[in-house]
């Protein structure tokens, strides 16, 4: 395969680069070792920062978030809900920090409003009655899956290509260029060569490993952040703790649930990223100062992402911002390899612009970036991650071949079938996990115990599944999802997990296969 630009990594950054280049008329291929947003891009709060979180300790990042947040609200509005955000200080929090907050916001150009405590309690009953100050800022929630799925859909419509489950295993170097990249299909094991004029390493936390294949060292630390999902939604807005950024101080709404996090734990390798019991307990205990119900609510899931932290000595230090790093790797003698990593979901468009600018300069492409003016089109494959969309569509057009499969999130058979067939058409052999990423199936309280059975039956009934695929997929799906379940199993959710095991092991004996 040949292309102008090979992008490595299908997170928010890589998919944004793909779209940016496609819009400039540059041909590109994106290779992703797993699936879209499989790393930190899919394992975060889903918070579109107003910038207020950074005003006290990182003015530049705050301004960057404000500007980028406004652009995404304007051009990718379908991925965003303008929830607004509260910053809440409680008794015992640093009073100087609280007093300085409005001034810092002003300097970063971020609008704020002091909210009377009684009004705050009325608007957000979940916040602690020990609150001493509440400010409102224009935080919003963003669906990172929809953002990436639609960025890819847009780029594909413009002729660019995506290879999922394709892992870069080697670079061939001749002189000052990488002449070919070896990519292994992680399902079939087959390898193929991709010849590209330029290569962008946008592999997030895996960027260090990818660069290592080109004998380039990146000074990178890994910070694991764990988040918990509640069974019910606790607040309308983003609720931030008004203090120096710390553990468990952001509560985000996400459709019918809330998400509380994070922790920050240094880890040494990426093979074993999972939410630990200790982190779960830490979140439950610390977050309840801001939202007391978090001490007693039912949680349905925990998940962990890895923040790549690029050290000050990393590469040639072409750091365009304190938030992210763009490394041209000229010091290595290579002229067609660059790395972009770090940063935030909110600034993914800017990161893509900077990375695309660099490779376009190297390619001699003078077409400017247009992602500050061209809207992100809504795509069929992107819309099913939005809570509430599937039920609305089902109510409008349900028919006999379209029964509800996932009763928690009201996802119907036609949605599952269409997403499945779309991936088949793209040459994939789709899994339940793939469909889960592209819809809300399995994301409710039952965590797939019932709907996975119905989804398998439905796909057989319509001839989509063959052989033992249903049983194999159910087993793989539970194995994959379990990593996020076992950390929050107490109370009601433990009984739910017991029901799942009673059904899938007790009755069906799936563990014996």
């Amino acid at each position: 395969m040949e292309t102008q630009v090979l992008i490595i990594g299908g997170g928010a950054t890589g998919t944004s680069i793909m779209r940016d280049l496609a819009l400039r008329g540059v041909d590109c291929i994106l290779v992703e070792q797993d699936d879209l947003n499989a790393g930190a891009s899919g394992r975060n709060h889903g918070l579109l920062h107003s910038g207020a979180r950074y005003v006290s300790n990182d003015h530049d990042a705050a301004v960057e978030c404000r500007i980028e947040g406004d652009i995404l609200k304007r051009l990718a509005g379908q991925t965003i809900q303008a929830t607004g955000g509260y910053f809440v200080a409680v008794q015992g929090d640093d009073e100087n920090f609280i007093a300085d907050f409005p001034g810092h916001c002003d300097r970063a150009g971020i609008s704020w409003k002091k909210i009377d405590l009684n009004e705050a309690f009325a608007n957000e009953p979940a916040i602690s009655r020990k609150a001493i100050a509440v400010y409102e800022v224009p935080d919003a929630s963003i669906d990172p899956f929809r953002l990436s799925l639609e960025s890819v859909a847009h780029a594909k419509a413009l002729g660019c290509r995506l290879l999922r489950r394709s892992q870069v295993v080697a670079f061939k170097r001749e002189g000052n260029r990488i002449t070919s990249t070896t990519v292994r299909d992680r399902v079939t094991g087959e390898e193929r060569e991709i010849v590209a004029d330029q290569i962008i390493n946008a592999a997030g936390a895996w960027a260090k490993i990818v660069a290592g294949l080109a004998n380039i060292h990146i000074d990178m630390l890994y910070s694991k952040g764990t988040l918990l999902i509640t069974h019910n939604r606790l607040a309308h807005r983003a609720i931030n703790r008004l203090r120096k950024p710390s553990n468990a101080d952001i509560l985000m709404p996400g459709g019918t649930v809330s998400i509380i996090g994070t922790t920050s734990v240094k880890i040494d390798n990426l093979d074993d990223v999972y939410p630990s019991i200790a982190e779960v307990d830490q979140i439950v205990e610390e977050s309840s100062a801001m939202v007391p119900d978090l001490a007693t609510v039912r949680y349905i899931r925990a998940y962990a992402g890895v923040r790549p932290l690029v050290g000050a000595s990393g590469g040639d230090g072409r750091s365009v911002s304190r938030g992210f790093a763009l490394l041209g790797h000229e010091e290595s003698g290579l002229q067609n390899f660059a790395t972009i990593t770090g940063g935030k979901l909110t600034t993914c468009r800017l990161m893509a612009e900077k990375a695309a600018d660099l490779v376009c300069e190297r390619l001699g492409v003078t077409t400017p970036c247009v992602t500050t003016s061209v809207p992100l089109p809504s795509a069929y494959e992107g819309r099913w991650t939005e809570p509430g969309h599937a039920p609305k569509a089902w109510m409008r057009s349900a028919n006999e071949d379209d029964p509800l499969i996932c009763e928690c999130e009201m996802v119907s058979g036609a949605v599952i079938r269409n997403l499945y067939n779309q991936l088949v058409k793209a040459g994939d052999n789709p899994t339940f996990t793939d469909i889960g990423l592209r819809s809300r199936v399995g994301k409710g309280a039952c965590q797939g115990a019932f709907c996975a059975v119905r989804a398998a039956a439905h796909l057989y009934q319509h001839g989509a599944f063959q052989g033992r695929k249903g049983l194999d997929q159910i087993v793989d799906f539970f194995d994959e999802r379990w990593g996020g379940q076992h950390g929050v199993l107490w109370g009601e959710q433990l009984a739910q997990a017991e029901l799942m095991e009673a059904l899938h092991c007790g009755l069906f004996g799936e563990e014996l296969k």
Binding site: Y274, I277, D281, V284, A398, N399, E400, D402, P403, L404, I405, F450, V453, R454, A456, A457, H458, Y460, Q461, G463, F465, Q466, G467, R468, K469, G470, L471, I474, V475, F478, D479, R481, W482, G483, Q485, H486, L489, W490, G491, L494, A495, A497, E498, L499, E501, A502, L503, C505, G506, L507, F508, G509, E510, E511, L512, K513
Partner: protein, 430 residues
């Protein structure tokens, strides 16, 4: 006499298979039994009665002979409640319950070994007690009969195509046909209970028979999802066999299943026949003990009541049944705060792999009992002389992995009632 004015011989708390069995066994011994609980957990049953099919769990060793499995368990896990019951008592107990259920409208095939029943998932379930409506499924698989499975449009949990695809390599003569249930046009989702009720009417049953008959071809058996009648399943099943001229069988499906509802109904009939008094709407919220009498506080919509009994059998189940409750720190027994043997910390509750070969440690936590099935504290001391515990609340078993849920329930109920009636004999209570 009102239940609150009487001194009962036994109060049984919990109405799963263990509580139902304990109540029936105790009443059969002539004791006066007050049974509290609504039996809603029974509907999660598949209708199959497992005794023991897998041991050791870590090796996934499946046994055709459950009694041999229990003998092995006695060596390997001597304090497993199934091992404590032992094969002989287990056989007597399970056969007695199967007989009682048969008399109450849910007949089981007489059995001496495990049978391997095809499930809707395409797996084979090793189980001991098989309702007569399901037995031909195991026979059809065993003899590899050419077999037709019927898929019903709109029944979401069941795909005959899935079974054929999943089992086809081991069962070459298996095929399926998809049918439209009579008068279901325009109904998007069908529910097994509704279909089962509909099949109890002659007209609908005949319509289904007319649809299926021309599809049989060379099939020597026909399998349906478990929808062949709700309370009249024996008659409905027979009507299908007579009309189709081949053995007909039901395939166990997801809960809430029709056989689960039949099981609940039949246990209720059997308990009534044995003379058990039931308080279906009540929940036990407290138990106090003095020297000879237990006083139970019963709560229902009208308020609280107290009843008194000479003995109490706790059959409240695990987490689903609310017999156990876990917070982030530990597992508790919420009714009496009994000692719960359990892993040291939450870190050790679950394996990192859902289908881990060894299972999850939390599933082996629970109550410890003495040789007479009486809960003890951490040091082996009995809590109250006539408080007994039976069923899945007991520690040191893993019924989901061992495929032993019904055997655990029925066997421990039998053993505890035997120990209890011996005690009654000694105090002259009966």
């Amino acid at each position: 006499m009102n239940s609150q004015d009487q001194l009962w011989d036994v109060a049984v708390v919990g109405a799963g298979i263990a509580g139902m069995s304990a109540a029936i066994f105790a009443a059969s011994k002539g004791l006066s039994v007050l049974h509290i609980g609504n039996g809603s957990g029974l509907v999660f049953g598949s209708g199959l009665l497992d005794v023991l099919a897998v041991h050791p769990v870590k090796d996934s060793t499946v046994h055709e002979d459950p009694w041999h499995g229990i003998e092995l368990l006695r060596k390997d896990e001597p304090s497993n409640p199934l091992a404590l019951v032992g094969p002989k008592a287990m056989e007597v107990a399970v056969n007695q319950i199967m007989e009682a259920l048969g008399k109450a409208g849910m007949p089981y095939e007489p059995s001496t070994t495990n049978h391997f029943v095809p499930t809707s998932m395409g797996t084979l379930k090793g189980t001991f007690g098989v309702p007569t409506t399901m037995t031909s499924g195991a026979k059809a698989f065993e003899n590899k009969w050419p077999t037709l499975l019927i898929e019903i449009r709109g029944l979401r949990e069941f795909s005959a195509a899935q079974m054929v695809h999943t089992m086809g390599d081991k069962w070459p003569g298996l095929r399926f046909e998809k049918i439209e249930f009579p008068d279901s046009k325009g109904v998007f989702e069908l529910y097994a209970t509704h279909l089962a009720t509909a099949l109890e009417t002659n007209k609908t049953r005949q319509a289904v028979i007319d649809i299926v008959r021309p599809l049989i071809g060379d099939a020597k058996a026909v399998g349906f999802p478990a929808i062949l009648g709700l309370s009249e399943s024996t008659a409905v099943h027979k009507a299908f066999e007579d009309a189709l001229g081949v053995p007909v069988f039901e395939i166990p499906t997801m809960p809430t299943s029709v056989p689960g509802l039949r099981l609940k109904h039949s246990f209720e009939v059997a308990a009534a026949a044995a003379g058990v008094s039931r308080r279906v709407q009540s929940v036990v919220t407290g138990v106090k003990f003095d020297n000879d009498i237990a006083t139970l506080t019963l709560q229902d919509a009208t308020g609280n009541q107290e009843v008194q009994a000479k003995a109490v059998i706790l059959a409240t189940g695990r987490f689903m049944g609310r017999g156990l409750f876990a917070d982030r720190e530990k597992v508790r027994e919420p009714l009496l705060d009994l000692f719960v043997e359990q892993p040291e910390s939450r870190e050790n509750w679950h394996s990192r792999d859902f289908f881990a070969k060894s299972g999850h440690a939390i599933n082996r936590c629970g109550l410890l009992v003495d040789s007479k099935w009486r809960p003890t504290d951490a040091f082996g001391a009995v809590v109250w002389p006539r408080l007994y515990a039976v069923g899945s609340i007991l520690a040191r078993q893993d019924w989901m992995r061992q495929k032993s849920g019904s055997g655990l329930a029925i066997g421990t109920a039998w053993a505890a009632v035997s120990a209890m009636s011996d005690d009654f004999g000694s105090i002259g209570g009966v």
